[in-house]
């Protein structure tokens, strides 16, 4: 039986490359979808912000499903690279853990504690939502009138105006939010929060 020349033999499927490439694609998708789940998030969906035409639920579902695939391929990535990984953790002589592993463990523990006790950088990272949300809300609601905002919030324009009045904001039902924002000094996001009966977050020390 003649042996097929090397060049014509179909190379076997390379699972390492497949896992590596899937890791790259899933990480990319989860990074992008993660940003949209982070901000505008669930609140954005309520006022009709739909980045790339997708609502919050679709972004969250996409992030989650691709996240599950990411976890699966990450496990395989670790299995395929187990030997070099163990060398990263363990000293060649004595079998003790390497200082690099200890340092990474320290960093991970610090980040976990930072989350629990609001130490830097956890509040700063989480706090990025507010300016991002402010930008989204200004973009979506800036051109809307007070009456349209009230409709979005399932409230009457009078109720919205009464809530604003408590913060010294004067407006009429036909006024555009961008204009009310310019006159009052409250960003659109704060006007939205006050209209919902919440406290303003960007200009917290507002007139009351």
């Amino acid at each position: 039986m003649p042996v097929r020349p090397e060049a014509h033999r179909k190379p076997p499927f390379n699972w390492r490359v497949f896992v590596g490439a899937t890791l790259f694609w899933t990480l990319l998708v989860d990074l992008v979808s993660g940003v949209f789940v982070f901000s505008p998030g669930h609140g954005g969906s309520l006022i009709g912000i739909r980045p790339l035409g997708l609502g919050f639920s679709a972004w969250a579902a996409w992030h989650t499903i691709i996240g599950f695939l990411l976890i699966a391929v990450a496990i395989y990535h670790v299995i395929f690279n187990w030997r070099p990984l163990v060398n990263y953790f363990r000293q060649k002589a004595g079998g003790l853990l390497r200082p690099e592993f200890g340092l990474s463990l320290l960093l991970a523990v610090y980040l976990a504690l930072a989350t629990a006790f609001a130490w830097p950088p956890a509040p700063q990272i989480w706090g990025l939502r507010t300016p991002l949300n402010a930008a989204w809300y200004a973009h979506r609601l800036g051109g809307e009138t007070v009456a349209e905002l009230a409709k979005l919030l399932h409230a009457s324009p009078e109720k919205v105006l009464a809530r604003w009045a408590r913060y010294g904001v004067k407006a009429a039902p036909g006024d555009r939010l961008a204009e009310v924002s310019r006159k009052s000094g409250y960003p659109v996001y704060d006007l939205y929060q006050i209209a919902r009966g919440r406290k303003p977050v960007l200009r917290a020390k507002g007139r009351r």
Binding site: V17, A58, W62, L85, E100
Partner: protein, 214 residues
């Protein structure tokens, strides 16, 4: 001389090892916190579950903070492993067709899952909806021992308001009734009672419920 060099090499800090170690640790945290946010997710906030002493919001912050660091370190991981990565992509006979096949197939898998997520069809749709099944189980477990009056406090409504909402679905209850017993009596889950109390539509209609309630 050779011994000294080897000894020196051993104490030299390896950024590559540090990055790989942190990626493994943060990957575990991101994965576990992600699963926690999937289930119990927001139900943890409703039933007051504080796993490892952290509430739902803290788990969300933990997931976000570790994800940011994970992405940063992943970028360095790619930089440190650029040479072996390039070796996969080029430089060998047959390397290019192999790369196209495997990377193309992986892209196809990711795109297929993405489309199924956007359209809520198999396999992403049922997997996403499974959250609801898990949420129902969490609520049955976490709220079953509460009374109707406790439930009213949870949903920030008066007990009378909740009882009226129950009545619309034909559910007769007293403020002291345990939710698990009430749910069993009317053939629904505690989650359904919670939804009705909030003024939302339940997943399952209570037995003998008023058809006009919607």
């Amino acid at each position: 001389m050779a011994v000294r060099t080897r000894a020196k090499q051993r104490v030299r800090f390896s950024a590559r090892a540090f990055v790989a170690s942190f990626l493994l640790l943060s990957g575990v945290v991101v994965g576990l916190s992600g699963v926690y946010l999937y289930t119990p997710g927001f139900a943890a906030h409703i039933i007051g579950l504080r796993f490892l002493g952290l509430d739902f919001r803290h788990w969300a912050i933990l997931h976000t903070v570790f994800s940011v660091f994970f992405v940063l370190f992943a970028a360095f991981h790619v930089i440190y492993n650029w040479r072996p990565l390039l070796r996969y992509l080029s430089g060998r006979v047959h390397a290019v067709p192999r790369w196209y096949r495997e990377a193309g197939l992986s892209l196809a898998v990711v795109l297929l899952l993405s489309f199924s997520s956007w359209a809520y069809v198999f396999p992403a749709g049922p997997l996403w909806e499974f959250r609801t099944t898990l949420r129902v189980a969490w609520m049955d477990w976490g709220m079953g021992s509460l009374s109707v009056a406790d439930l009213a406090k949870k949903v920030r409504a008066s007990t009378d308001q909740v009882l009226k909402r129950f009545a619309k679905y034909g559910v007769k209850a007293c403020p002291e009734d345990r939710l698990s017993e009430l749910a069993e009596r009317v053939g629904v889950h505690v989650y359904d009672l919670y939804q009705i109390a909030r003024g939302r539509r339940p997943l399952n209609r209570p037995k003998g419920g008023d058809a006009g309630a919607s």
